[in-house]
């Protein structure tokens, strides 16, 4: 009842202000920002308390988190806001933001993220995007029944700030529990991904994050990030569909020297022949064989890996950690990735079409696949650590691809085109502090003789 009276008073003042034309646009924008900040600042303490208070990260981790956050904030566009980040002392994996630039992340979510800076950038970018797009403040106003633009409404702040803020604060907490809304989440996902990419983080980090959250969700951990968000699969699809947009538009290569280099590279066999320890030498037969044959230089014997597959093409990654095999699948070409012990660690299953050829990225984290389908042949990049795909040939029909240090080249008719992946910059703390180490204790088992045999007991903690 008291709330309704409050709404009426707010609405009455708003109408009055609109009628009288008091609100000058520039000052109204400033007041809107002030309203947001006051609303966020007023609500933050209760939420911090609810989440177990502020958690102080160890120095090195704090510097790392702050650096990621600073790089993202530098890409934000609302200069009237001052963003702040608070780590909350909760094991629940969660992150949220309040109007005015107050961003929160729990230690539980930081634990889940580990040292993957692209995942952290995805979370923080998502929360910054909510603030950039005013999702929180708009949701509050909507909930309060105020359809008048916030920029106009907050002109009344000086007149009824206490009442308005009290009600808005209560509403904000309610709305935060329910989430800002499906469309707001989708929008924050995409803008967050864009902010991360602009700040020099891998845009596929957002997909890895969703996968990590989904995996954790399967475990016992309560995943509050998902509770208020739309279907994770749908979010993942949307983020994946944007990956190609972060690659440069394919451009025709006209530089004669580059073209000569491309022809040379194409004519010579570019693939690495051995694994990273130079133990397994790949034997290339030139035709499809059952399995892939390698010569083990240690035992001086031939070994056969993936013997159940009809292998058309094989190549070690540039670092020699993984072996990619193009195999004849039941309906189409498939790509398998083996580790350097011959175990299949990945099968690329969602490839949109038939894989006819492939090449590794220079850093060994991606594969460029030549994929043929009804609309012709295209280049699809497979992100191995994110199980994601991006069509980077922009609809051009292709035949042949080469991935060199300066970009991914592909042939369209007689022309070579080049496209470049988004640049990623590792986090480098400008003013780092050295580690302070303590000696680790090691676990050593005790050997007990039992008759003619020996038994290892449970490890015992002893100083090294």
């Amino acid at each position: 009842m008291r709330g309704k009276q409050g709404y009426r008073r707010v609405a009455a003042v708003l109408v009055l202000l609109v009628v009288l034309g008091v609100a000058a646009p520039s000052s109204a924008a400033g007041l809107a920002a002030r309203f947001e900040k006051t609303l966020g600042a007023g609500t933050a303490p209760a939420l911090i308390k609810e989440y177990g208070g502020e958690y102080v990260l160890p120095v090195q981790q704090r510097l790392w988190v702050e650096e990621v956050f600073a790089r993202l904030v530098a890409q934000s566009e609302r200069e009237e806001l001052e963003y702040s980040l608070t780590v909350l002392n909760s094991k629940e994996a969660n992150a949220f933001s309040l109007p005015g630039g107050y961003v929160f992340i729990t230690r539980g979510l930081l634990n889940l993220i580990g040292s993957d800076e692209a995942k952290l950038a995805a979370v923080l970018g998502h929360e910054i995007a909510h603030v950039e797009k005013k999702h929180g403040v708009n949701a509050v106003l909507r909930q309060m029944g105020l359809t008048v633009l916030a920029e106009v409404g907050v002109v009344a702040l000086d007149f009824l700030s206490a009442e308005l803020l009290r009600m808005a604060g209560l509403t904000l907490v309610q709305v935060l529990q329910a989430g800002w809304g499906r469309e707001a989440e989708y929008e924050a996902d995409l803008l967050g991904q864009e902010l991360a990419a602009r700040a020099g983080f891998d845009p596929a980090g957002a997909i890895r994050l969703l996968d990590a959250l989904a995996a954790a969700d399967d475990s016992e951990q309560a995943m509050h990030v998902f509770r208020t968000h739309p279907d994770p699969g749908d979010r993942r699809d949307r983020l994946e569909s944007k990956l190609a947009s972060y690659w440069s538009e394919p451009a025709v290569v006209t530089d004669v020297q580059v073209l000569e280099r491309l022809i040379q590279c194409r004519n010579s066999h570019q693939h690495r022949r051995t694994d990273s320890k130079d133990r397994y030498v790949l034997e290339v037969s030139g035709e499809s064989t059952a399995g892939v044959t390698l010569f083990d230089q240690q035992t001086q014997e031939r070994v056969l890996w993936a013997e159940n597959a009809l292998v058309k093409e094989a190549a070690w990654s540039p670092q020699g950690d993984y072996l990619a095999l193009l195999v004849d699948g039941q309906a189409q070409g498939e790509l398998w990735v083996l580790n350097r012990w011959g175990h299949v660690v990945r099968k690329l299953e969602r490839v949109p079409g038939t894989i006819t050829a492939f090449c590794w990225s220079p850093d060994g984290t991606m594969l460029a696949l030549e994929v043929s389908g009804p609309s012709g042949s295209r280049i699809v990049v497979a992100y191995l650590d994110a199980d994601a795909y991006a069509e980077v040939s922009s609809g051009l029909s292709t035949h042949g691809a080469l991935w060199l240090q300066d970009g991914l080249y592909f042939l369209n008719g007689e022309n070579w085109f080049r496209t470049v992946p988004p640049e990623t910059v590792p986090v480098q703390v400008a003013e780092p502090v050295p580690l302070v180490l303590q000696r680790k204790r090691v676990l050593t088992p005790t050997l007990i003789k039992e008759g003619s045999t020996f038994r290892l007991t449970r490890p015992e903690l002893t100083p090294p």
């Binding site: 003013e431 050295p434 303590q438 000696r439």
Partner: protein, 173 residues
């Protein structure tokens, strides 16, 4: 008879000599920044080390020596590097019961000036530890740190072992 005596003396000298020989070994940083000599009873800790961080355990339960490369840093001087580090060690999220026991002093490591200091703190098991540390900003704005720690207060003044390590220190650039 004389030959036999001489042989016995020589054998004894060899045996005694071997027993007293220092097992020091030459360490060359895998990243090619420095080399030094690590004395007897100090063991390289492979599980604790990375190319940027070389860790050695001494004979005592808490004796620890480690060198860390920090990459490019923005500190204008070693003193700024030391001050900022100590400030963060002493602050929230830093070291428990931190106490600076020896203030900043200029020190030279193979011709490069750095800043040394010593501090004490309590580890997670409640042990009081002392650590002597040198901060360096090398050419190319490379941050570097040398640390020697123990559970004895004397560690705050370094040790003959550390002096030996520093005496044999060579930069490889």
């Amino acid at each position: 008879m004389v030959e036999r005596k001489l042989a016995i003396v020589l054998l004894a000298a060899v045996l005694l000599g071997t027993a007293g020989t220092c097992q020091a070994f030459q360490l060359t940083d895998p990243t090619g920044l420095y080399s030094t000599q690590i004395g007897d009873h100090w063991v390289y800790q492979a599980h604790h080390s990375t190319p940027e961080l070389m860790v050695f355990y001494g004979a005592g339960d808490f004796e620890l020596l480690y060198f860390q490369r920090l990459g490019q840093v923005a500190y204008p001087s070693a003193l700024d590097f030391a001050r900022r580090s100590v400030e963060l060690y002493a602050g929230p999220g830093g070291l428990d019961q931190f106490e600076l026991v020896k203030g900043f002093a200029e020190v030279e490591v193979a011709g490069h000036k750095g800043i040394s200091c010593a501090y004490s703190y309590q580890d997670a098991q409640g042990n009081r530890l002392w650590e002597y540390r040198i901060f360096l900003v090398l050419p190319g704005q490379e941050g570097f740190s040398i640390a020697f720690g123990d559970n004895r207060p004397e560690a705050a003044s370094g040790s003959p072992f550390l002096e030996d390590v520093l005496r044999h220190w060579r930069w490889l650039f």
